[in-house]
Symmetry: C2
Subunit: 409 residues, 2 copies
């Protein structure tokens, strides 16, 4: 962290209060209709009610013969009863006959039941009869047996999936089977990313002439995508108030600004947000990321993320990601797998400040990486995850079990 | 399950042996180069070695003054030492001066260090001097202090990320910062999906005329996508050997065939795979999905998945998904979150058969759903996950803690 740049923060907002502000912005985006092929992981904006019965027709659940159950009464291995075969019912090719007394229709799994029949006799409970159009029944079958009844799986008018459901692969199967080709889901929040800094070259550039290649644009784009947002724009903006003001007019639901978030001479964005809208939070009692901020311009939420990549990741994770996930209809919680493990060495913090401490896991123990050095980009890639030291804590002693939020899941 | 259709299976392969066959096919696909914007979650095909130092130039880590440390010796609040300001260094705009004895250069965080200076004195340890071009030093600063040294973050020639790394958002930041715009990742296996069955209407159709709308195509597409495969084709094929044979020539790495996997009259695919290639497994000692199979045609792996949606999901999860994940460079394991919970009631199975039992979780207990009814599509959407009953087990008594694989994660 850069302590100098902090001088201007009269007081810092607690992480808790900043999170509370985020959660107050978390109303769902308007729904959008997407084809099933794009619906995996999206969140249902309204309940789905089936307009059809599944099955839509009574169908055989076994290969065998559609029969009148009464005709099989008394049949047995030593007392085979003959039936006359009057047709064949295949999937999508029903037998256009009515099964009368003493009659049967050859039927395949999934094929429509013919009129008159009220049970399916499995083929293994039969024997060929004396001629090609006869079959011997070797066992009695009960009425209704081996028939998939209309609406047995899904009944017309039934709520199949509830509002807020995160759609799974099998849900898409069910939606398709009730005749839907698209579905109404919560719209993905549209996120614009502005990377400021005269020294920052666009991602994909080779660093040269005292300029550095941008790390935050690609990182933030991937984070937004992970959190179910849609990156509509990733733009590089010079440290110039007019250029930044223009970029803050982006057509988006949420704007992430990387760099220039503090109180230095070249930190224009906080003042611009104050001028164009409302700067709700500026300066947060945390490490790293204390020179972060957030506010609104019109309907848009704007997050001011420090340019240092570690701080940028931390501020995104605590605040921006939380809003994006919620506005996409997902849970606010971090999408990281949690693991409880003991600390290999002590982890120090300061009361009054929340720490986001990158850690490694080795031999089942948690090793804190240097908590300083927000500009050390590779500390986020060397880390297996992070541990939070809450505001009221001075840290944890060696051996204390802590919760690690793992980056790899 | 449909017992009749099982008659033709002389013997069934164990799940273990079928999984072993899958794992033998699991060589990585050839690498492909993708832009960073598409690299999240992909797996590095080769280690990434940095061709540059980060930082590429020594830079200030604080706002303040670039000085010669020796000039600050002995300075203190009551003994301020004056320095003459000879220039300003901003990010991407270095001061073109050399700092001599008694001189300082105003510098911002991230700006290049001027020649001659060997430390940064933070602005808070200074006071304005007697004129605009002078500053008073209030504290001594050590040599090298507050300077980001060349290669301090990443040293040229160093391996930054290892082969097999699943790329995280922050990894993309690091790759970008070393000047890369694209990266070599393990190619996504190209998967063709063939849905057979004369009664099956393409996904998106309204069920009509004794035909049903396909559930498996959309479900399998979403599963393949989840498992890092790329669906190149999802095609509907009638129950006709020539049409199926033609479709099995799909230009793909892996072919999934839904339906017609068993030994009935209309089950053409197993014979076709045997004829065109090698049918390695057909009939598996499991429930559901026992009429599943797998083999190869040329370089392609072919999975025969039962048409019943529940069986289809189960066979995909056990076998096809496992291969797709591995060929994409990912772990073979299920991507489902595991949870240990007690059974609310007994869960029966049979020795010699592996069961994939869908369950619900209620009040912290596991409630098995009907293990029968592979055609009951909604049993997979009502289920919160599944429990595996191994081949050697008759099931579990009420109260036994079991591992639930949760569909929602």
């Amino acid at each position: 962290m850069n302590d100098v740049r902090m001088r201007g923060f009269a007081e810092r907002t607690s992480v808790e209060d900043a999170v509370a502000w985020v959660d107050r912005q978390a109303a769902w985006i308007v729904p959008e209709v997407v084809p099933l092929s794009e619906a995996r992981g999206r969140v249902l904006a309204e309940p789905v009610v089936s307009r059809i019965d599944v099955p839509t027709y009574p169908r055989a659940m076994m290969d065998g013969y559609a029969v009148r159950a009464a005709d099989t009464m008394g049949a047995g291995d030593y007392d085979p009863l003959p039936l006359r075969i009057v047709g064949t019912s295949l999937p999508a090719a029903p037998a256009n006959v009515t099964v009368g007394e003493g009659e049967a229709v050859r039927i395949m799994t999934g094929a429509p039941m013919p009129e008159g029949a009220d049970a399916v006799l499995p083929v293994e409970q039969t024997q060929p009869g004396s001629s090609t159009d006869s079959v011997l029944v070797l066992a009695a079958v009960a009425r209704g047996r081996h028939i998939g009844q209309v609406g047995e799986d899904i009944r017309r008018g039934r709520e199949v999936l509830t509002r807020g459901r995160v759609l799974r692969p099998q849900d898409l199967g069910v939606l398709s089977s009730i005749g839907l080709s698209e579905v109404s889901v919560i719209g993905a929040p549209r996120v614009a990313i502005l990377v400021t800094g005269n020294e920052v070259l666009p991602a994909g550039s080779k660093p040269a002439d005292y300029r550095i290649a941008d790390a935050n644009g690609p990182m933030l784009s991937a984070l937004v995508e992970r959190d179910h947002g849609c990156v509509t724009d990733c733009r590089y903006v010079p440290d110039d108030p007019d250029a930044i003001a223009e970029a803050l007019r982006a057509d988006a639901d949420i704007i992430l600004v990387s760099g220039g978030s503090s109180v230095g001479e070249e930190d224009h964005t906080p003042q611009l947000v104050r001028k164009l809208g409302m700067l709700a939070v500026h300066g947060i009692a945390m490490r790293p990321s204390s020179p972060a901020g957030m506010g609104t311009i019109g309907h848009r939420q704007v997050f001011l993320l420090p340019g240092n990549p570690v701080s940028c990741l931390c501020a995104y994770d605590f605040f921006a990601g939380r809003l994006i996930r919620q506005r996409a209809g997902h849970r606010a919680d971090w999408p990281y797998r949690q693991q409880q493990l003991p600390l290999a060495e002590k982890l120090s913090s300061a009361i009054g400040r929340t720490d986001y401490a990158r850690v490694r896991i080795q031999n089942g123990q948690v090793i804190p990486l240097a908590i300083r050095g927000a500009s050390i980009l590779t500390s986020t890639t060397r880390a297996d995850g992070f541990v939070i030291v809450p505001e009221a804590s001075e840290g944890f002693a060696e051996g204390t079990p802590v919760t690690v939020y793992r980056y790899d899941a």
